[in-house]
Each structure stands twice: as structure tokens, then as C-alpha cells.
């Protein structure tokens, strides 16, 4: 190689590299007029309402996925300079946490207030629920009789030793559940409950779907999952051999968490963000959430999915958003202490 060729090559390479670099930086930094949504909801099969919103309003949407805690951490470190306009979580405690950290801004809209009941939104308007999610007991229809296990405490009964399946302790659904227990029953009672579960040597699985599949194919007899996962299984296969039991019906009721949405502080696209919230909590889209995902709606007058409704009405124990949020860290520590992997 001649010296001139080397210099030319290096120069060309550098120019190319810099150009590509700039192009990538620009491409990944996004334009200012798109609506940026940080969402903890699953990427898969749940994006339809967002697509509909985009095509109806002509807004460009950009979805950025991650767990609620990853998104929270990201918002936290981006501070006032974040490009995010909307935060969507799949649990209440992370909404509370985001509000407390000052990452959300209050929104007031007559339409939102009409569509979302008062107990499903933040008193200051920092967040609104999108859907509700009941976390309850699942049993095998083949090996466990209806009524054999009806309370969360009974999952700790020694008869389920080696027959209990739980999702991993890192799931927001479980950390929120435990945080809400600590808030309502106190630390000691919650620790007793968890230790009784753990004494049954539960299998820890990666997702709620895995728990249901494990019960269906006989690796477990009972488990704890959100009700809509069962709804999806039953929609695909009506003979899926798992049934749910609404937990604690003679007590406080079944734990109900919520998936919620809020406008990020400093959002460039506040107006579009608010209209997305109005759109998603409107009757049409609520029906889509129910039909596709089998979640419980927040909008009044929308019927739950038939796959879930067949288990009958149930008494709800809605999550205490503020106090569960305050106890979230404590819950994580407790779950680690007792060995909930």
C-alpha cells in the first residue's frame, strides 16, 4: 500500500464513519413532533389500540418498551430533558413512585374524569388507570376441586408442598401484591404468609403463562397469576384444564392492581398525550383491551371478557396505590429475605 493510498483510505474511512455516526445519532434521537410512549405493557399483540390512535389522529407514535422499573429509572436519569411524553405501567406502585419523584404532570380533562372512575385515578390527575388486573388463585381442574383453595393464606397449607407454582419475584405483579399486603396487614403478617408459601417449595417460573402451563401439564396443582392470562388460554382452548378461584371472598377480597397512564413532566406533546389517554380510556378501546387481552376495563358499562365472567362476580380488594408504593422497597427486600426467587 502506498502512503498516498493509506492517507486517502484513512480520510475516507473517517469521513464515512463520522457521517454514519451523525446519521445514527439523528435517526435514533427522533423528531420532535412524535408522541413518545414509554410503555411497560407487552409489545406483543397489545399495540393495536396505539396503531388505531396513530392512524385516526395522524400522530407519529414511538413506543419504547421495558419493565416499569427500567422505564422509571430511565425517566429519572433523563430528568427534564426526556423525550418521553407518556408513561404507561402495568402496576400501580410504579405509577405512585413516578408521581412521587415528580416525573409526571397533572392532567385535567372532563372526558377523562367522565370515563375513569374516581378511585381509579390519581387525586391530583397525575395518572389514570387504563385497565384493572386481578391477581388470584389458579387451580388444576383435574386434581384440585372447586373450593379446595379459596384464600391466599391457603396456598401456604402444607398439602400443597411441591405442588405450588409462582412467578419469579422480580415481576411487578408480585412485588406490588406483597407491598399491598405489607401496607394492609403489616410486615409481620405478610412475612408469615410468604414464609408459609415458601415452605411449600414452590417452583419459580418466568411468566404467568408459564405458571398456567405448568398447572395444565401437571407439574403443579395450584398457582398465583393475573386472571387475564387464564382468559387468553381459555380463548384459545376452551378445555384448558385450569380454573381460577377468586381469593379471599370472605375477607378483604381479591387483589386488584391496575395498568395506568400519565403524562411525563416536560412533555413536548402534552395535547396529543392527553388525547391518547382519552382515546384509550374511551369505550371503544376499552372493549378492545377486554376482547384482546381479557383485562378488566376501567370505563363504566363495558362488560368483562366472557372467559373470565364465567367464574362469576367477585369482591375486589383494590390496591392501595399510595401505601403500596411506599412499601415497594420493603416488599422487594422481604421477598429476597424469604427466598422468593
Amino acid at each position: 500500500m502506498s502512503r498516498r493510498r493509506l492517507v486517502a483510505l484513512v480520510t475516507a474511512g473517517t469521513v464515512l464513519l463520522v457521517a454514519a455516526f451523525v446519521a445514527v445519532v439523528v435517526a435514533t434521537s427522533g423528531s420532535g413532533d412524535e408522541l413518545v410512549i414509554y410503555t411497560a405493557r407487552s409489545h406483543y399483540g397489545e399495540e393495536q389500540p396505539f396503531k388505531d390512535f396513530a392512524s385516526r389522529t395522524g400522530n407519529d407514535l414511538r413506543l419504547f418498551g421495558g419493565s416499569a422499573s427500567e422505564l422509571y429509572e430511565r425517566l429519572q436519569s433523563e430528568g427534564g430533558q426526556t423525550k418521553a411524553d407518556v408513561l404507561i405501567t402495568v402496576d400501580a406502585a410504579n405509577l405512585w413512585r413516578a408521581k412521587k419523584a415528580g416525573l409526571l404532570q397533572p392532567v385535567h380533562s372532563a372526558e377523562l374524569d367522565r370515563q375513569v372512575p374516581r378511585d381509579l385515578r390519581d387525586p391530583d390527575g397525575d395518572w389514570y388507570a387504563l385497565t384493572q388486573r386481578a391477581r388470584t388463585i389458579m387451580r388444576s381442574t383435574k386434581r384440585v376441586k372447586h373450593g379446595e383453595v379459596t384464600t391466599y393464606a391457603q396456598l401456604g397449607d402444607p398439602r400443597w408442598k411441591g405442588r405450588l407454582c409462582l412467578r419469579s419475584g422480580t415481576s411487578e405483579y408480585n412485588t406490588d401484591f406483597v407491598a399491598d399486603r405489607i401496607a394492609k396487614d403489616g410486615h409481620a403478617a405478610t412475612e408469615r404468609l410468604l414464609r408459609s408459601w415458601l415452605a411449600n417449595d414452590p417452583k419459580f417460573l418466568g411468566s404467568d403463562t408459564d405458571v398456567l402451563d405448568a398447572i395444565a401439564d401437571g407439574r403443579c396443582d395450584v398457582g398465583l397469576t393475573n386472571s387475564y392470562y387464564l382468559g387468553r388460554e381459555l380463548a384459545e382452548d376452551p378445555d384448558f384444564p385450569v380454573a381460577l378461584e377468586w381469593a379471599d371472598q370472605n375477607g378483604r377480597g381479591t387483589h386488584v392492581n391496575l395498568s395506568g397512564i400519565g403524562v411525563v413532566k416536560g412533555a413536548d406533546q402534552r395535547a396529543a398525550a392527553v388525547s391518547l389517554m382519552e382515546f384509550l380510556t374511551g369505550r371503544r378501546q376499552q372493549e378492545v383491551f377486554v376482547r384482546n387481552n381479557k383485562e378488566f376495563p376501567v370505563a363504566r358499562g363495558v362488560k368483562p371478557a366472557p372467559e373470565i365472567e364465567r367464574f362469576g362476580p367477585f369482591k375486589r380488594d383494590p390496591i392501595d396505590v399510595r401505601r403500596a408504593g411506599q412499601h415497594l422497597e420493603e416488599a422487594v427486600r422481604l421477598m429476597n429475605e424469604v427466598g422468593w426467587e
Binding site: 502512503r3 435517526a27 430533558q81 418466568g206 403463562t209 426467587e341
Partner: protein, 535 residues
């Protein structure tokens, strides 16, 4: 004449090294600054993480050492049908990232892969995908040994099998140890596999403390502990490499002649390795293809799949050039000055290798985030570092510089100083020497460096997960997200692409090395060749 004052190359090398190593060196600060109670608060994570990590390291160490050494012995000292290409096929598992094999196993094994959701399962998977490190180094060491030495041992009354175990294996000990250390560093750096299998190692604990418990400081403290383990492995590996040099010099002469196997042993020798490669590479490729086809047919592709593919490609290409360039700069800095400052700086800058991506992410995001907000306060430019791919590139440089540096440095070390001096004597200046002597001699090394970084970035998961900018999802992210939701079909196509791309550099590595059998080296641990061999 070589000048004695510190020249531009050295200064540049020292400055670069400072920036690259800075974030990692800053980690221990987490013990002294901040609230100061983070460690006690989350110390509950520590015993479990430490126990699982140690168990994993012992298991993977033993597994890769036995499997890798066994295979290296087989192909080096025995001849059997198909040996010529089986010895290269055994390198292919390098192309399969642990989390892709895990995805395959979880989706294929009965009962949701329950049997492998344990530390033992993780050990099995790591052993299968990481043994090539030991195999490659072991093979190179065995082939570099001289026939005369073994014959001498035989002459002293040892059978040929005993000669191999009493002479050849002990002589190759540094190489085998170095390979094992590399495999262990990979296992330690892994996040995807252990997380998907629910095995609570250090990387998993860091992730949990940071994201579930929101304690960045405690995460950095755990990271500090993990880095110290990694550094220990790195020291072992370097010591082993240092000794390997003498062992190799001590064993020159005619290469070892292989024993021809016949009958049943020959069949077993052909089928065994073949079955292994079929299990680790063939079966996942077939299964992933079937799933990928299904996902295309049923419309189950990950959202924005094309964008992820484009991002992966762009990130990988640009990192390859960027990291390769910085590696070249550092290598020249050292060669130019031979000063202690430059050598030390380079050593510092290359500690990032083997440090898990999540640790790199923690250590990069904190200073970069701070700087970013200061820049924004001063110029109102928004978050130019953490809000764009720049943060990600910074992490890749920290993580993979060592990989590229060793490949570049090896090829540079093979060029004797006398050659430079001869060229200078003929009136060439420094640039001439670079253009007409070094670049042609180093092209293979540079290509190797770029390719290695390219594939590593393609499959990198934890740092990308934590630092990717808006719209910056990659194939690895798509695999990870779909697999965590047990959507194996959706995960298949991106996973398949990662493996196929990963096969390219492995194939090239093989091609580059095939010309001279004994010279094949995994570029991470180059053993400097005797000068006579390169001229």
C-alpha cells in the same frame, strides 16, 4: 532514530485509556460517596449471589476444561475420518450466544425446560457454548509442541498415551488455564442466560438491586465486588499467557505426528464431536428456522423487526470501526514509546473485557449522565450523550476494547523493530513505515479485531438493554423481550440472524488460520509467535 520525548501517540494513548478505564475505576467510589447505607440495606442479595456465582464458576471451569482439553487432545494427537473439518466444526459453538441456546432449550425441552432452570442447567449450557475457548488454546498449544519431546518421553519408556498425559498436557497447562479463564469471564459476564433460567448470580443481583429495588449505589457496590472477581481471572489469564510463551519456546522442532485410529475408536472419534456440534449449533439452527418460518407465516414477528435488524447492523459496523481504531491507536502508543506510562495506560484501558455489560452500563451511565446534564445546563442541547447512541458506543468501547486491542497488538508485536529500523534506514518516515510495512503485515489482525467487535456487539444484551436510546432496539433486545414472555416463535428470527452473523467471523477465523494449522489462536489470547515464524 527513535526519539526519546513522549510523542503524540503516547499522549493520545494515555488520554484514551483514562477515558475508557475511568468509569470502571470510579466504581469503588460508590462505597464512600452517597448515602453510605446502600450496602447494608441490600446485603441480603449478597450471600445468594455469591454462592450461585461461585458454584457456577466451579462447574463451568471444570466442564469447559474437561470438554475443551479432551477435544483438543483428540484432534491434535489422533487421526480419524473427517478430522480435517471436524477440528474446525468444533469452533462453531462460539457463534451461539448463551441466551440463544437457552431460548432453544426452554422452547424445546419438555415441561417448559424445567430441568435446566437451575444452576446445574446453567453450567451445562455455558459448558456447551464456551468450551471452544479451552479447545482452541489447547489445540494451538498441542500442535505447537514438538515431536522430539514426545519421542524422548516415549524413549524413556512411557506409552504414547502416558506420554501425552505426562508431557503434552502439563506443557499445555498455561494455555488450558488461560482458555478456562476466558470461558469463566464470559460466564461471569452473562446476563441473559442466568436471568432466563432464574439463576441468581452477581449480574442478576446487580440488575435486581438497580431496577427492582431502585438502589443504584448498591448496584455499583455489587458491581465493584464482581469486577474484583473478574480482575482476578484476568490476572490468572495474563500470568498463564506469560508462561505459555516460554513453554512454547521450549518446545520447538518438528510437529507432532498424529496416531491413526481404526475401527470402533475411529468411529467414536468422528461421531462424538459431530454429535456435540449438531446439538450446540445444528439443532438450534434447525429449530430456530422452523420457528422463524412459523412466525413469518402467522404474523408473529416482533414489532419493528426491520428497525431492530438495521440498528443491530449499524451499531455493530460502527463499533467495529470505532473500537478497532482506538485499539490501533493504543497499540501504536505502546510501540512508539515503550514507556511505562503508555504500557500501564493500556493495561488499564483493557480491564473492561470480561466485565459484564450491566456493570459497564452502571459505570458508564452515572458519569455520562452527570456530564450530560451539565452540558445541557450550559448549552441547552438536550441529552446528547445518554439520550443518543453515544452512551451505547461508550459502553461498547469500554467492554470490547481489550478484544480488539489484543488482536491488533498481536499482529503488531509480530513485526520486529528491526524491520522499522531497516525501513527508516532506507529513508522512510513514520507514515511510510505505517503504510508500507505495518498495514500490510497487520491486515489480518485488524480484520480480526473488527470482526470480533462486530459479532460481540450483535449479540450484546445487558448494556444495550440499559443504554439503548429511543428507537434503538436491537435484535438481541427483540430476542430477550420475546423470550421473557415465553414467545419462542417470535424470538426465533432475530435469534437466528444473530447466530448466522456470528458464524461469519468464526468462519473467517478458521479460513485465516487454516493455512497454518498450529497458528490458529482465539484472538483474545494471542501467544506471541517466535519472530522467526513471521519473517
Amino acid at each position: 532514530m527513535r526519539s526519546r520525548r513522549p510523542d503524540g501517540w503516547t499522549v493520545a494513548a494515555v488520554v484514551t485509556a483514562f477515558f475508557v478505564a475511568g468509569p470502571l475505576i470510579g466504581l469503588p467510589l460508590s462505597f464512600v460517596v452517597g448515602s453510605g447505607h446502600g450496602f447494608t440495606q441490600f446485603s441480603g442479595f449478597l450471600p445468594d449471589a455469591a454462592r450461585n456465582t461461585v458454584f457456577l464458576l466451579v462447574g463451568v471451569g471444570a466442564g469447559t476444561l474437561v470438554l475443551g482439553t479432551g477435544l483438543a487432545l483428540l484432534v491434535s494427537f489422533c487421526d480419524f475420518p473427517g478430522r480435517g473439518w471436524i477440528e474446525w466444526a468444533l469452533v462453531l459453538p462460539l457463534a451461539v450466544p448463551g441466551y440463544v441456546f437457552t431460548l432453544f432449550a426452554l422452547g424445546t425441552l419438555p415441561a417448559g425446560g424445567e430441568s435446566i432452570r437451575s444452576p446445574i442447567g446453567a453450567i451445562a449450557i455455558f459448558t456447551l457454548v464456551l468450551y471452544p475457548y479451552v479447545y482452541l488454546l489447547g489445540r494451538a498449544a498441542f500442535l505447537g509442541q514438538s515431536q522430539a519431546l514426545l519421542e524422548a518421553a516415549r524413549g524413556l519408556g512411557l506409552s504414547s498415551t502416558r506420554a501425552i498425559f505426562r508431557v503434552a498436557v502439563p506443557l499445555a497447562r498455561p494455555a488450558l488455564l488461560g482458555g478456562t479463564a476466558l470461558a469463566l469471564m464470559e460466564a461471569l459476564a452473562d446476563f441473559g442466560t442466568v436471568n432466563l433460567l432464574g439463576v441468581h448470580t452477581f449480574t442478576d443481583a446487580i440488575y435486581r438491586v438497580w431496577f427492582i429495588a431502585f438502589d443504584r449505589q448498591a448496584a455499583m457496590q455489587l458491581a465493584t465486588l464482581l469486577v474484583s472477581v473478574t480482575l482476578t481471572l484476568l490476572v490468572i489469564e495474563r500470568l498463564a499467557r506469560g508462561r505459555a510463551r516460554y513453554h512454547q519456546l521450549a518446545a520447538r522442532g518438528e510437529a507432532v505426528a498424529a496416531v491413526r485410529l481404526r475401527g470402533l475408536p475411529a468411529v467414536a472419534a468422528s461421531i462424538g464431536p459431530l454429535a456435540l456440534v449438531a446439538l450446540v449449533v445444528g439443532a438450534p439452527l434447525v429449530q430456530l428456522s422452523v420457528w422463524a418460518f412459523g412466525s413469518i407465516r402467522d404474523g408473529l414477528l416482533a414489532p419493528e423487526f426491520a428497525v431492530s435488524a438495521r440498528n443491530s447492523l449499524l451499531l455493530a459496523v460502527m463499533s467495529a470501526v470505532l473500537v478497532g481504531g482506538i485499539a490501533l491507536l493504543l497499540a501504536y502508543g505502546v510501540r512508539g514509546s515503550r514507556s511505562r506510562a503508555a504500557t500501564g495506560a493500556v493495561r488499564l484501558a483493557t480491564i473492561g473485557y470480561g466485565v459484564p455489560g450491566s456493570v459497564v452500563a452502571v459505570s458508564v451511565i452515572v458519569p455520562l449522565g452527570w456530564l450530560d446534564h451539565r452540558l445541557d445546563d450550559a448549552f441547552g442541547v438536550g441529552l446528547v450523550l445518554t439520550g443518543t447512541v453515544i452512551g451505547l458506543f461508550a459502553a461498547y468501547v469500554v467492554r470490547f476494547l481489550a478484544l480488539a486491542f489484543q488482536a491488533v497488538d498481536t499482529s503488531l508485536l509480530r513485526i520486529p523493530d528491526e524491520l522499522d529500523e531497516a525501513a527508516h534506514g532506507l529513508g522512510a518516515d513514520r507514515l511510510d513505515v505505517l503504510a508500507r510495512v505495518h498495514v500490510p503485515l497487520m491486515s489480518a489482525g485488524l480484520a480480526t479485531a473488527a470482526l470480533l467487535v462486530f459479532t460481540e456487539v450483535m449479540k450484546e444484551l445487558p448494556a444495550t438493554l440499559l443504554l439503548r436510546p429511543l428507537g434503538g432496539d436491537t435484535l438481541a433486545i427483540a430476542v430477550w423481550q420475546a423470550t421473557s414472555e415465553s414467545l419462542f416463535k417470535t424470538a426465533a428470527l432475530p435469534a437466528l440472524l444473530i447466530v448466522l452473523v456470528g458464524l461469519l467471523p468464526v468462519a473467517l477465523l478458521i479460513r485465516l488460520s487454516a493455512r497454518r494449522g498450529p497458528a490458529i489462536q482465539p484472538p483474545e489470547v494471542p501467544e506471541p509467535q517466535p519472530l522467526a515464524a513471521t519473517i
